[in-house]
């Protein structure tokens, strides 16, 4: 009874508290530090070409301009925002400060070529200009513009920034937008980031199933030029070769605001009668051969049948499984991954050791900070660099904030999979507050690129501690609300308890790690078992549960959020003074982007949000790695354990079990 009262109290509390939704536009929750569009000061430029050389995406070209006293070569940079990932290497390495960041995030266009900014365009400080809204053509076009339904297909990384639009923080429903599962009900397709050949066929299929008129919005750089994966053997470089795209949004990933601006532009155009580009699918551009699904051979004479689960399903991520069903009971299941395979281990072999830090967080968009941390750790181990203690503490703060946002994301998915949409929206809205604090710390929301070889890139701002305290206080209160509405909710408990039970032994044998393993009663956490960075000094209490079912996995994550808050609090309380980054190697060489790492190998494991993440790096003394092996936490959990766990389960239990294991398809596909 008291639980019901608590839940009612929480709901009433939410009803009277200030709404979480950001007004839109113009009040953008944006920090000064955000790495947005670059600003170029020609009078400071020496024409040294360092920015062009250091860019991991080849986004900077040097154009010939007039020679002068300061700029003897006369070369000035042109930045192609179809390729730029806003990592900040160019700004960091610019010797004179001619290139700097503004916090302007909105770069969108209907013609991608206009995103190639000449030095003259870069010198003009950015401003936001809204096109004049055309007249409403007729009632139909007005009505159409106010209810754009977007098909739900989580393509790649950029989709993470469409998530806040589902949440209470950005709330797309105020624009009349709705995410729908069926392409036949959809008006707009959101291509969220990189497209692999496997994904491409699904996109084309979804596109051709959508009724007329239809619009396509492409998020991020990868659909335009390949973006960060310009050299990957498994991503499509230009999606417009296959289907027409109406609006392109640049960024890596773009913030939620440009997506909103794009939607506003779309609404205006549609009410003026714009019906999208002419429908066409061009399949001549290659990569269209489809290999058959690995079906499990159901016996049609019995009550068995084959079913493909995913990849276009809100509960699957961009991942797919072949199921053999008997009625609604799953008899057999095999995974069919590869929708997000970009070949990271190959890409890392021809970027320098430092440039790779810009690449690694992209392995898993849901918890990028851990990958930065693990990669920097393995490189430092190999080079024998000791990170200053303050740098280690800041890394802990970043990693824990990232863990919190990853767990919040998962709790939201847990809510969504069990039918608690309110919880999903509420939690994801709160997650945006964590992302804002991460931006305060690092300069970016998703791909922070805060770490560098030797430490972290910048010290905290003077008011960071205070803001962090506010957030910790806010989240602690909110956790009570989640408890009242979700964790202690009898409906949720009944739905998840006893579902997908993982025994201790099975979990260990199938290489399940992280919160999933701890929920099965194994007290193993790398942060305490093999402490790295400043975890030993800060101290942590691991969270374990005994039953190993879906409920306890969610519960473990919920409790870990609390523990992470404690860790951040401790770390900021005891934050030591001193430098945040080592600038020299033990051999007294300066750490630059072309640093050569001594020959040898190193193996480094950390506790990511999803479990044990290991990097194995081999150097032959060059400035690029010879081989990097990434051992992601979800590889065993999802590709090995999950299909076995499904045996005997009902089809409706798949999404709940799936999200209780906290999946990240990008992590196991790499």
């Amino acid at each position: 009874m008291s639980r019901i009262f608590k839940a009612i109290k929480s709901v009433l509390g939410l009803a009277v508290s200030k709404p979480m939704t950001f007004s839109f536009p113009p009040d953008m929750p944006l920090t000064e530090l955000y790495r947005g569009r670059q600003l170029y000061k020609p009078e400071l430029c020496k024409g040294c070409k360092i920015c062009a050389n250091v860019c991991p995406n080849n986004a900077i070209q040097m154009l010939e301009r007039e020679k002068s006293e300061e700029n003897k070569t006369g070369l000035q940079p042109q930045i192609d925002f179809r390729k730029c990932c806003f990592c900040g290497l160019c700004v960091d390495n610019c010797p004179t400060g001619a290139l700097s960041f503004t916090n302007f995030p909105i770069l969108l266009t209907m013609k991608p070529e206009t995103l190639n900014y000449t030095p003259e365009m870069l010198a003009v400080p950015p401003t936001l200009e809204h096109p004049e809204a055309p007249k409403i053509k007729n009632t139909v076009s007005w009505a159409r513009s106010r209810s754009i339904w977007i098909v739900n297909y989580m393509t790649g990384c950029c989709f993470i920034e469409a998530v806040p639009w589902v949440a209470s923080s950005f709330d797309m429903e105020r624009f009349g937008l709705l995410a729908v599962g069926s392409p036949r009900h959809a008006d707009a397709l959101l291509v969220g980031g990189y497209v692999t050949p496997k994904t491409l066929k699904r996109i084309i299929r979804i596109y051709s199933l959508m009724p007329q008129p239809k619009w396509v919005i492409a998020l991020g750089n990868c659909p335009m030029t390949g973006g960060t994966y310009w050299d990957s053997y498994n991503t499509i470089k230009d999606i417009s070769k296959y289907i027409p795209v109406d609006i392109w949004i640049a960024g890596c990933p773009p913030r939620p605001e440009p997506i909103g601006v794009a939607v506003v532009h779309a609404i205006q155009a549609i009410q003026g009668g714009y019906l999208g580009k002419e429908e066409k699918t061009d399949t001549d551009a290659g990569k269209m051969e489809v290999s058959p699904y690995p079906l499990l051979g159901a016996d049609a004479n019995k009550t068995e049948f084959d079913m493909v689960f995913g990849s276009q399903h809100p509960a699957s991520g961009n991942f797919n499984m072949a199921l053999k069903l008997d009625g609604e009971i799953i008899v057999d299941a095999i995974p069919y991954p590869g929708y997000l395979h970009r070949g990271f281990e190959k890409l890392m072999e021809y970027r320098t050791w430092l440039q790779n830090i810009m690449l690694v967080p992209r392995i898993c968009v849901l918890d990028g900070a851990s990958y930065e941390l693990a990669y920097s750790g393995v490189t430092e181990k190999l080079a024998g660099i000791q990170v200053p203690i303050r740098g280690q503490y800041l890394r802990v703060v970043q990693a824990e904030l990232s863990r919190i946002q990853s767990h919040l994301m998962n709790l939201g998915f847990g809510g969504a999979a069990t039918g608690f949409d309110t919880i999903e929206r509420l939690i994801w809205g709160d997650r945006d507050q964590v992302l804002l604090l991460l931006e305060e710390l690092t300069g970016a929301r998703i791909y922070h690129i805060f770490n560098t070889i030797g430490g972290v890139r910048r010290d905290i701002q003077p008011d960071f501690q205070q803001k962090a305290e506010q957030l910790i206080h806010f989240l602690r209160e909110r956790l009570q609300t989640y408890d009242n509405l979700l964790i202690h909710n009898k409906t949720f408990i009944d739905r998840t308890e006893g579902l997908g039970i993982l025994s201790k032994e099975t979990a260990i044998q199938n290489d399940v790690t992280g919160p999933n393993l701890r929920a099965s009663g194994v007290d193993f956490d790398i942060r305490t078992a093999t402490p790295y960075e400043a975890y030993q000094e800060v101290g942590i209490n691991t969270v374990t549960a005994t039953k190993g079912d879906a409920y306890h996995r969610f519960l473990c994550r919920r409790l870990e959020i609390e523990e992470s808050l404690n860790i951040i609090e401790h770390a900021l309380d005891q934050l030591p003074s001193g430098p945040v980054c080592e600038t020299k190697t033990p051999e007294d060489k300066k750490i630059t982007w072309r640093l050569k790492i001594p020959a040898g190998e190193a193996f480094h494991c950390i506790e990511a949000g999803r479990g044990e993440l290991c990097f194995h790096a081999i150097s032959t003394g060059e400035n690029t790695p010879y081989r990097i092996k990434v051992r992601g936490p979800t590889f065993g959990t999802i590709l090995v354990m999950f299909p076995k766990l499904l045996h005997g389960m009902k089809i409706a239990d798949v999404p709940v079990t799936y999200w209780s294991l906290d999946q990240c398809p990008a992590d196991h596909d790499r």
Binding site: P197, Y233, N234, G286, S291, G338, H341, T530, C614, I618
Partner: protein, 162 residues
Amino acid sequence: MKDKALELTAFSTALKSHYALSEFEIRENLLTLTTDTTTYVDLSTYLKDQGFSRCLTVAVIDWIDQGEFEIYYVVHHLESNIYVKVATRIARSKPAITSLSTIWKSATMHEREMWELFGVNFVGNTMLKPLFLENWTEKPPLRKDFNWHTYVDKEYFKAREK
């Protein structure tokens, strides 16, 4: 912590006396062993019996200049928190090695990935089918002699001119 360190030393001494190991190194809690292909397989059974129940990965390094593939696996002992990495080398021209899939269940999928990305055959693994790539007809992409540059150019940029 001291007890675990002791165990590691005792364990490594026992290992050294039993098996032919060409290279042997202890760094923190990671034991790195290099050995021949027979011992690579023998060791896996031994390690499993010793309680190394988690197989973190099976991976390949392409040493193209020496004409060899290095195959290694990393296993973990949960109770004493010891990692062991066992590596061996096979000729690049005959890339085949015994599978560990019967010993560690999780090795199966890692071997399948390596089979696809490096073209190394794991004898005894029944799951050697494409995992990530679709209709891949070129050289396995993670091999050092796979020329990504020509491939990306041919497949993605010049596809229309074909």
